[in-house]
Structure formats: structure tokens, C-alpha cells
């Protein structure tokens, strides 16, 4: 019986504790002939989504339901001197008002409160109102009288770092605006590595803060039944919300039920409980009625997370043959007013692991600034790091006159240099290079000559990602019913990524049933069982093996029953495509329901768990990508023509859904490169484009041709299904690939995103009038 390796709470030391477990299953072989896994099933919730019947948190309608709105700070940093909500409370149709004056003191963001007297960003919560309609709630907000005392603020990262900067958090006792302890990483001896180098690259890059802008905003609907709270929350983690809300309200966890049926996008920003989860519950308690609190688009852009902006100085040292001798990086990131928890944006990671290099020195510092809190955004940290590292690698390839893929092959890492463990699929990234290289070479050969003012360019970038391997534990229960259909229950979430479908395929495969015989239940702490947050591209690789484990228990019992009924040893029986086979012979097939119906009303129950990741190996996902762009040197217009991409994501469970993830991820990468970025007026501490009018996410006309070259090699060392995650990887290399393509086209190195016409025209003008800097100088 396998045991879990768990960290015992509070003690800070590891201990091995035996926890309920099934048998560790042998992985499906890489060349296994699978019936349901690997097939392009359409999404199981398709009908609900195309008919408008899928119920999102925003769509919950309960009898006597109220609607809540939040009054938000108009100042980047201010103290509430006085607040008077009496007129709001008196307004007809208003049923509950909360401010710092009457709300319970509830700790939030680790070092703050749900309502605080000091506000640290435009968008911070000042008051919340529940009323008969959103319009009446808005009327009430306008009746709340607040006197603010503005405090000195800083919203610009550079300024926040500088000496004498105003304290963004007057209440945090750290040096300057440091938000966290600096992360200093050092291996080998970078000093001597750089002294021995034949060639060096030294560059500074800036990445913009980017807003997730999920179409469904954050929000929740709360109602109480006595002491039991039910919360329909738009969340990537029902169990995280349950835990955090229960803690905030002082409730035991079994008094809180969190449900998420369908979610209109999260992209990382919905992996924790936010204040609205607690506020909806408090307003519901106060009014005695169900309360729905959904954020408006402005609040969505200001108060519930964005990708932190970064400054990164990158230095590479190499030998003439391309061998990397040293990597140095100095990283600063703007974390906003609060540290939110969840996955942090670990920018250092990729510098430490993507390329084989003995000498690495990384310093990463996080700073508070007076804008809303940053939070994980699809491949947090790695998107930011790839932007800098992969442009620096391009510079190095150019300085060495080496093909960019050849340079990367020269510095291939088969071992995770952070843990010294080999990767579960050490050839993963090489397979990506192998897939992309012929397309890359052919694109280079066929590159069209300049056409008037338009220049064609090609750029390459690679990536690794810490996610995709799954984060156990996670559980699943299966009930095989009298009629030979199955209920599969797990507390995970389908955040729009196709989880219901991919995991139904795993269940069908492992049970020997067709997918249409599987009912899939998820997204409800009330039915359980526990599953972790849907982040880190982890859902398929965490819950898939748990389902397989539960299914193996069901199949064992089914075959035992069949053995008794059919009077054939169980060892000769198997189940495939809804039938029990003798010696694998399809001509001697007994329908599953013929057995299960004889057991009725007894049903067959199986429970399964996701065992730990392999102790002696490191699970990663990898990718290689190139971009083809046209740059118009007169208008500064960049048209991304084509993206070609390959990813080691293990076994592909559903090729259609994986292609959709790749296309969608690359599209977000194109947005990050070309148009997305919060515009902040630092004189005002104000995000100027907190809406979908001026924060430009890609539309149909912005999407290039996207070609996904399937690798589809099962990572049998990673978990028993061989599948890894795909949610985050595709966008990681997109922006640097585009940047490198722009350089290839016009010889301009854009050190900051988004690559707007203005930026390109300014750079073109500068090169026209001044001597162009040598790459790598």
C-alpha cells in the first residue's frame, strides 16, 4: 500500500504518513491501444453552452435574491477619515450595507483586512451594498459620504525601487517598498564564468502588467440556511474558497459548500478566494436573503489581479561554440498593493532550468506599488522570464552567427538543475525542436523578399514550465450502476478547459465503458471528494490518475462478480467497450449491464487517489515555437502571419481540445506581445484602460495562422495516464518569438511589450538618425 509523503502542518518537517490508498497502477504503455483516450470527442457540456443554458455563477437566480455592489477607493493611497452610510441604509430597496464601521474585522491578504481604514490602491473596497437591483445598489453607493485623507503614493516600479520613494504600504515593515524577502539564487561561479566568456549579452527588458479580463467577472452568490452557507463562486478552486471563507467567517468547513458548475474564464486570477466571496456571505447574513455580488468590468481590471510588470536585466556568457558558461539575471516585479497568495509569479524559474548551465546567479525582488494586487496569470513568471531570456538567447545566436535552434540544442538540459533530478521525459524538449526545426528551416528558405515597405521576419523561442505534471493529492469516486452506466464524482473544476470531457475519456477507458455511459460530476465541495485548484495546467494530470485508480477498483469488483455469474475465472475476464470479454475475445462478449443488473440494487463502488509524483524525477512540460511577422516600416504596423508550435504535454487525451488550448494560449500570447498592457498614469496612480475598450485583447482579426505540431508521446514516468497539462505552455514562448521575428525583419530589438506602432515607429526613427547598436554589445 503506497503512502503519501506529507508535510505535517506546523512542525515544518516532512513525515511519511499512511493515508487511504489504492494500488499504484502501472502506467498505460506508451504504445497502448486505447479506445476512448486520444479520440476527438466533442465537449460534454457543449449543448448547454451553445443553448445558453450552462449556468455560471453570474446566472444564479434564487427567490428574493439581492444584488450587491462595492464602493471602491478613488485614491491610490488614502486614509478614511470619516464614513457615513446612513443615507444609503435609508434608501428604499437597500437591505444591507457594510463598511469598516460595522463590518467584522476579518484578516485578508495576510497583512490587511477585508475592510481597512487605509486604502492602498484605486479599486480598494470601501463599502458594500446589497439591494433589490444593481441599479438601486449603485444609487446607494452614491449616497455614502466618505472623507478621505490622501497619502503619498507610488505606482511606478522604477520609482518604487528608488531611494526616498513614498511607502506604498505604510503598514509593512520592510525596507523601502520591498514586498517580500529577496530571492537570491546562486550556483557555480558566475564571476569566473563571465571572465572566461568569448561572448556576452547584456540586456534590460520590461514586461507590462497584463489583465486577465476573463469574460465572466469574479463574483459569487451566497445564501444561508441556518448556519450553513452555500456559495456559487466563479472560481478555479472550490475547496480553496471553502477553506478561506470558512476561516474568514469562523465556520467549520462542513458548514460551507462551494459550487462552480461553469466558469467564464479564470486564467489564474480565480485560484483563491477574494473579498467578494466573504462580502456576499456577510451581506446575505445581514439581509437574510440570497446575495449575488459580481464585479463590474472596471473592478475586474483594478481589484482582482493582473500579471505583475517586471524589469529584468539579463546577462549571458558563452563560448564561441555556443556553450553557455553563465547566466545572470536581476529581476524586479511590481506586486501591487497586496500579496495575494496562490501561485506566485516566479520569474527566476526559467533562468534556472531551461538551459544547461553550471553558473547561474539570479536576484529577484518584489515591490509593493499602489495599484491593485497582482496574481497568477497563465504560466506566471515564465511568460515574463521567457520574454527576456529568449530575446537574450536570440541576441546570443546572432552574435555567434548560430541558428537559434542549434544554439539551444547545444545547451540542452536533461536534468532539472534545481533538484538535480532527471526529467521524466528527458527528450521532451528535443522532440519539440525536432518537430519545429524542419518547418523553421523551410520558412527561412521561403522567406519572401522585402515587398515595398513590408519586411518579413522569423523568430524562434523555447520554454519550459513547472506545471503540467499535476499537484497531488486529488480524489475520485465512481459508482457503477445497475444499468451499466457510471457516475464519476470528483471535486475538481472545469474552468473551460474541457476537463469534463478529457476526464470522462479517462474514466471510460479505465472502466471499459463508452463515454456516453459516464455521468461526470464536479465543481461542488458538497459532493466532493477533494481535488486541488485548477491551476498549473494540473487538472488532467492530477485527477486523471485518481479516476483510473477508482475505475480499477470498480473493474476488479465487476470482474469478480462476472466471474461468479459466468463461472469463469476472473483472471480470464476483461472489460472493453461496454462488454465483458473472455480471454480478450470480442466474439464472446457479455454486456456489462447483464452482470450489473443481476447485482441490483447493489452498485459497485470504487474510490481512487492520485499518488505522489515520482520522487526521483522532475515532471515538466516543454515547448518550441516560431513566429512569422510582416513589419511595415512606414506605419510601424506588425502583422503576425503565422505561429508554428510544438509541445511536450505527454499523451494527448483529446486532440481537438488540446488544439483549442494551443490556439487559445498562443492567441493570448499574441495579445501580450502586440496589444495588451495596463496603461498607468503614474502622476495619478491610476490605470487608464480598466475596460475592454482601451485594454485591447485580441479579436478575430488579430489571430494569425496557428499550426500545432503534435508530439503526443506518453510521459509514462510522470503518472499512470501519461498525460500532462497543456493550459499554460502555449503562450509562454509567443511574445519573445514575435519580438525575435521583428528583430529579424527590421533589426529592432523591442525591449518592452506591447509592440505598439508607436514603439516601433519611435525605434525605427531612432535607428534612422543614430548608429544602430551592435547586437550583444
Amino acid at each position: 500500500m503506497p503512502a503519501f509523503h506529507v508535510s505535517v502542518k506546523g512542525s515544518g518537517k516532512d513525515a511519511t504518513v499512511a493515508v487511504q490508498e489504492g494500488d499504484a497502477l502501472a502506467p498505460w504503455p506508451a504504445d497502448a491501444d486505447l479506445a476512448a483516450v486520444g479520440k476527438p470527442y466533442s465537449r460534454r457540456e457543449g449543448r448547454q453552452k451553445v443553448t445558453g443554458r450552462a449556468r455560471y455563477a453570474y446566472d444564479v437566480r434564487m427567490p428574493r435574491q439581492l444584488y450587491a455592489r462595492v464602493l471602491r477607493s478613488p485614491h491610490p493611497h488614502a486614509r478614511i477619515v470619516q464614513i457615513d452610510a446612513s443615507k444609503a441604509e435609508a434608501l428604499s430597496g437597500v437591505h444591507a450595507v457594510l463598511t469598516v464601521e460595522n463590518a467584522p474585522e476579518i484578516p485578508w491578504y495576510g497583512d490587511s483586512q477585508v475592510f481597512s481604514r487605509v486604502l492602498h490602491c484605486i479599486g480598494d473596497e470601501v463599502a458594500a451594498v446589497a439591494a433589490e437591483s444593481e441599479e438601486v445598489a449603485d444609487d446607494a453607493l452614491r449616497l455614502i459620504e466618505v472623507t478621505y485623507e490622501p497619502l503619498p503614493f507610488v505606482s511606478d516600479l522604477e520609482a518604487a525601487i528608488g531611494p526616498g520613494a513614498p511607502k506604498a504600504r505604510e503598514d509593512v515593515e520592510r525596507e523601502g517598498n520591498l514586498a517580500d524577502d529577496p530571492k537570491i539564487y546562486d550556483r557555480g561561479d558566475t564571476e569566473s564564468a563571465f571572465a572566461q566568456a568569448d561572448i556576452m549579452v547584456d540586456r534590460v527588458f520590461h514586461t507590462a502588467s497584463a489583465a486577465h479580463n476573463s469574460l465572466e467577472p469574479h463574483g459569487a452568490t451566497a445564501y444561508w440556511d441556518g448556519e450553513n452557507l452555500t456559495l456559487y463562486s466563479s472560481t478555479q478552486s472550490v475547496f480553496t474558497v471553502r477553506q478561506q471563507v470558512a476561516e474568514a467567517l469562523g465556520l467549520p468547513e462542513h458548514h460551507v459548500r462551494v459550487i462552480m458548475e461553469h466558469m467564464g474564464g479564470g486564467f489564474g486570477a480565480k485560484q483563491i478566494a477574494w473579498k467578494h466571496d466573504v462580502l456576499a456571505a456577510l451581506l446575505s447574513k445581514q439581509s437574510g436573503r440570497p446575495v449575488q455580488m459580481m464585479l463590474d468590468r472596471r473592478a475586474e481590471n483594478l481589484a482582482v489581479g493582473h500579471r505583475p510588470s517586471t524589469h529584468q536585466r539579463v546577462q549571458l556568457a558563452a563560448r564561441r561554440d555556443g556553450t553557455l558558461l553563465g547566466i545572470r539575471a536581476e529581476i524586479a516585479q511590481a506586486r501591487g498593493a497586496y500579496l495575494t497568495g496562490g501561485e506566485a509569479s516566479n520569474v527566476s524559474g526559467m533562468y534556472q532550468t531551461l538551459y544547461r548551465c553550471e553558473n547561474v546567479h539570479i536576484e529577484e525582488r518584489s515591490y509593493h506599488v499602489n495599484i491593485g494586487p497582482a496574481v497568477a496569470f497563465r504560466a506566471p513568471g515564465h511568460v515574463e522570464a521567457a520574454f527576456a531570456l529568449e530575446q537574450a538567447m536570440d541576441e546570443l545566436a546572432r552574435a555567434l552567427e548560430m541558428d537559434p535552434i542549434a544554439l539551444r540544442r547545444t545547451n540542452y538540459a536533461e536534468v532539472d538543475q534545481l533538484s538535480d533530478k532527471p526529467f521524466t521525459l528527458p527528450e521532451g524538449l528535443r522532440l519539440c525542436y525536432d518537430a519545429v526545426a524542419p518547418e523553421w528551416e523551410s520558412a527561412r528558405r521561403q522567406r519572401s523578399a522585402p515587398d515595398g515597405t513590408v519586411r518579413r521576419g522569423l523568430g524562434f523561442a523555447a520554454h519550459d514550465w513547472v506545471g503540467g505534471g499535476g499537484h497531488p493529492p486529488g480524489y475520485a469516486w465512481i459508482e457503477l450502476q445497475e444499468d451499466g452506466t457510471a457516475n464519476v464524482i470528483t471535486g475538481t473544476q472545469d474552468i473551460g478547459t474541457g476537463t469534463r470531457t478529457g476526464l470522462s475519456q479517462v474514466a471510460a477507458e479505465a472502466l471499459g465503458l463508452s463515454v456516453d455511459r459516464i455521468a461526470f460530476r464536479l465543481g461542488d465541495t458538497g459532493t466532493g471528494p477533494y481535488a486541488p485548484v485548477s491551476s498549473g495546467s494540473a487538472t488532467q494530470s492530477t485527477i486523471g490518475p485518481a479516476i483510473r485508480d477508482a475505475a480499477s477498483e470498480v473493474v476488479r469488483q465487476l470482474l469478480d462478480a462476472a466471474s461468479t455469474i459466468m463461472e469463469i475465472p476472473a483472471s480470464r475476464l476483461s472489460v472493453r467497450e461496454n462488454a465483458i470479454l473472455v480471454d480478450g475475445d470480442a466474439s464472446r462478449a457479455t454486456p456489462v449491464e447483464q452482470i450489473t443488473s443481476q447485482l441490483g440494487p447493489h452498485t459497485i463502488q470504487g474510490r481512487g487517489a492520485r499518488t505522489d509524483n515520482p520522487a526521483s524525477k522532475s515532471v515538466r512540460t516543454f515547448g518550441a515555437q516560431f513566429a512569422e511577422v510582416d513589419v511595415d516600416t512606414t506605419t510601424g504596423d506588425v502583422r503576425v502571419v503565422r505561429i508554428v508550435t510544438a509541445h511536450d504535454i505527454g499523451r494527448i487525451v483529446n486532440p481537438t481540445i488540446v488544439d483549442s488550448q494551443i490556439i487559445g494560449g498562443v492567441t493570448q500570447g499574441v495579445g501580450f506581445a502586440m496589444t495588451e498592457g495596463q496603461v498607468i498614469d503614474h502622476a495619478l496612480g491610476r490605470v487608464m484602460n480598466a475596460n475592454l475598450e482601451e485594454y485591447k485583447v485580441p479579436t478575430v482579426g488579430d489571430v494569425p495562422e496557428i499550426r500545432h505540431l503534435h508530439i503526443d508521446v506518453a510521459d509514462t514516468e510522470a503518472n499512470s495516464t501519461g498525460a500532462k497539462g497543456v493550459g499554460e505552455p502555449p503562450l509562454v514562448p509567443t511574445a519573445p518569438a514575435i519580438a525575435n521575428a521583428i528583430y529579424d525583419a527590421v533589426g529592432i530589438r523591442l525591449d518592452a511589450n506591447p509592440f505598439s506602432r508607436r514603439r516601433l515607429l519611435d525605434a525605427l526613427a531612432a535607428t534612422g538618425s543614430s548608429h544602430q547598436e551592435e547586437p550583444g554589445a
Binding site: 449543448r47 455560471y56 461553469h262 463590474d296 490556439i663 475592454l692 485583447v697 485580441p698 482579426g701 489571430v703
Partner: protein, 180 residues
């Protein structure tokens, strides 16, 4: 200071049936649909005409329901996502969206389908360019755009097949009638 005005009566045709409603003058068609009528298939995202998630068909044209006041819809004919399928039979667009995996989270899907429904009602033989233009005001943050365009093309194809099938069926009936 805005204060709630007296509710006004408005009557329109909603998915083929007459619908009367009492609403405050400031209530948008979007909120009237989602709150007063509890038709939540039409989504609220930006509430200012940027994203297309609330697209409905008004008098044959795709329009943003967040930019229309409900009281301005008196006498008009409104179609929402709930009025697209015929009972359990999906519309060709809905079939094509499933077939081509033209959504992930699904929050923009109603709007995408309504934009394309309006296009295909007016131009059953719409070109790819027209399909792209029709959804150019509909944001999909998951980035399903290529599949949305493919689904639009496939739906036009399905509609042609259906009308050919219906056409030959009616020819057949006509022949039988003629032979009598």
C-alpha cells in the same frame, strides 16, 4: 442624484411570443432579459458595448443588448440565444459550434452565435470575410476564433444542405400532387 423613476410598460416580441414588461426607464434590455425575464443565456461582460457578449437580434439585426434601454424596445422583435434551437433540435450554428469546438469557457458563445445567426439570416451564402466581420465585435478571451469562423462556415453549409433537402422534399410532394 439619480433616483428610481416609475416603471413603464413595454411590449415586444421575444423569441416569437409577445412579452409585456414593467421596467424602470434606466434598465437596459440586457438587464431586463437577465433579471426581469430570467433569460441568463445573454451574457453581461463589459456593459458598455465593447465585447459583444450580450448580442441579441433586434428586428433582424445583431445588436448589443447592453446599449439598448428596454423601454426603447417597445413593438420590436427580439431574439435571444434561448430562441435559437427548435425544442431539442439544435440550430445548424449550434451544431457547428459543437462540431468545431468553437468555444472553451462558453461565456462569449451566445453572443457569437447571435452575431452569426443575424448574418446567416440575411446572407445564407455568407463568405468567410462576412463571417469574420460579423464576429469582429465579439471578444473570445479563450481565443477560439479560428474555430468560430470554421463553425460559421460549416453552419452556412449545413443550412444549404437542409434547404436542398427541404427543397427536394417539397419537389417530391409537388410531383405527387401533380400526378394526382
Amino acid at each position: 442624484m439619480p433616483i428610481a423613476d416609475a416603471e413603464q410598460r413595454v411590449t415586444f416580441t421575444l423569441n416569437g411570443r409577445e412579452q409585456a414588461l414593467l421596467v424602470e426607464p434606466r434598465r437596459t434590455l440586457l438587464d431586463a432579459l437577465r433579471h426581469d425575464l430570467e433569460l441568463t443565456g445573454t451574457k453581461k461582460v463589459c456593459d458598455m458595448g465593447d465585447c459583444g457578449a450580450c448580442t441579441v437580434i433586434v428586428d433582424g439585426r445583431a445588436m448589443y443588448a447592453c446599449l439598448l434601454l428596454a423601454i426603447d424596445c417597445d413593438g420590436r422583435e427580439i431574439r435571444t440565444i434561448e430562441g435559437v434551437a427548435q425544442g431539442d433540435a439544435l440550430d445548424p450554428l449550434q451544431q457547428a459550434f459543437i462540431e468545431h469546438d468553437a468555444f472553451q469557457c462558453g461565456f462569449c458563445t451566445s453572443g457569437q452565435i447571435m452575431s452569426l445567426r443575424a448574418l446567416l439570416d440575411a446572407h445564407p451564402n455568407a463568405s468567410e470575410e462576412q463571417i469574420r466581420t460579423a464576429v469582429s465585435g465579439n471578444i473570445c478571451r479563450c481565443g477560439a476564433y479560428p474555430n468560430i469562423v470554421a463553425a460559421g462556415k460549416r453552419a452556412a453549409e449545413l443550412m444549404r444542405e437542409n434547404s436542398t433537402a427541404a427543397g427536394s422534399a417539397s419537389d417530391h410532394i409537388a410531383m405527387q400532387a401533380g400526378g394526382r
